[in-house]
Amino acid sequence: MGEDAAERVRETVDAVYRSESRRVLATLIRLLGDFDLAEDALHDAFTAAVQRWPRDGVPTNPRAWLVSAGRFKAIDGMRRRARFDASLAQLAERLDASTNDAVGWADEGVDDDRLRLIFTCCHPALPPDARVALTLREVCGLTTEEIARAFLTAPPTVAQRIVRAKAKIRDAHIPYQVPSRADLPDRLDTVLHVVYLVFNEGYLASSGVSLTRSDLSTEAIRLGRLLIELLPEPEVVGLLALMLLHESRRAARTSPAGELVLLDDQDRALWNREQIAEGSALVERALTSRRFGPYALQAAIAALHAEAPNAAATDWAQIVGLYDVLARADPSPVVELNRAVAVAMRDGPLAGLALIDAILVRGDLGDYHLAHSARADLCRRLGRTAEARASYERALGLARQEPERRFLKRRLGELPD
């Protein structure tokens, strides 16, 4: 084969890696029963592809070829190492026998394999940090460095989390399975929680961070789309809608100088209308199903904001109504807080302030900077300057993100003396 043709084949291998490597990995994990073994097998399979495809041509079914090659290399490797470790010989024979069904097992149930992978990475028996790291690594293919950078942790910390998680999966025998019908609702909740966590990490750390593969929000949305493909449950639809609607405002959330711009002050011309359209359609789809939950409801609220041509035209009454339903589905203090803010918009700052004070007096959200900043804002609107100052300062003491801190300092500076 000439140099040009060989180069084209190498590009094909790269393209196949980008589009298929996660699927191949998911199947190899099922066949070989071990994450590390599967990752090595994946690597070996692509190495073999780089060597053989220029010579033999690109196979008609690259994924099946790669799964087959990976499996073969893994079992072969085990047999060779069995000279030093007899137990590997047994394992190799067992794997060979149990996975020798050559009738398209590489393609059958590949969607199931990807679901298995997501549910296993998000298993509740794993620590929450580990679920996030493992999902980003195994399902999204991010490197340890990319994950570490995105979450502002050190790569060895992330690496250790992943190693421990894989060890727990192996030692406690967490099965590589899609949960049963009965367990699915709770287990799906865990998965959606991980996806939303990843999205929020990307959403909040928006300004100034290098947006290459560490764009967590894009990864989260990609995960959401994958989940909808595999498991189109209403809450999955609701979460994707919510993420798209939040994401649609990214360009307007920060000023050119990198300062935080609140929803009310955002230039709505900068909102991504395609994402809004897609998000709104998904909201309708989720709500018509009648089995919707908190994500769909939050998305519906986001959709109402997105539909308003300007802040003043926002349908606050409907938003409060949705918060009423959301509070029943997800009775958390944060939801209560957000509802209080909406009530303030509908009924005036005094009404909202009463609700926020009730939360704080109860002992909830005392350490939540947004509770204090919301309170401060309402006090400011009521002309209660001293209280506003106190609450802004409290919020500043609790806020961690730089853009939010600068915003609070600005608000403090703007208060009359």
Binding site: D171, I174, P175
Partner: protein, 116 residues
Amino acid sequence: MKYLCLIYDEEKKLGAMSKSESDTFMGEYGAFTEGIRKSGHYVGGEALQPVQTATTVRVRNGKVSTTDGPFAETKEQLGGFYLINARDLNDAIQVASKIPSARVGSVEVRPIHEFN
């Protein structure tokens, strides 16, 4: 695969149960044990006497020291265990979730270390 289910209860709470409540509780335990015997999960299991009957033994520098009480004071105390056979962790979690104390206390599920 073998797992140990360690059952932790707040002894104070259990002690505060009325006779009929605690009879019901014991009945639930009986039914649970019967159930996992039938399903083949049961390997072993015992209830433990209250934590004040515990003695902790340590040997340091050849010297045996015994202390009155559990190895650590905790809000919930170890009250019993089941040793079970399960297909995998999900199966073990399923079994553990049916242990009556799981509703009011905690059950720790730990895989047995098999030495080959």
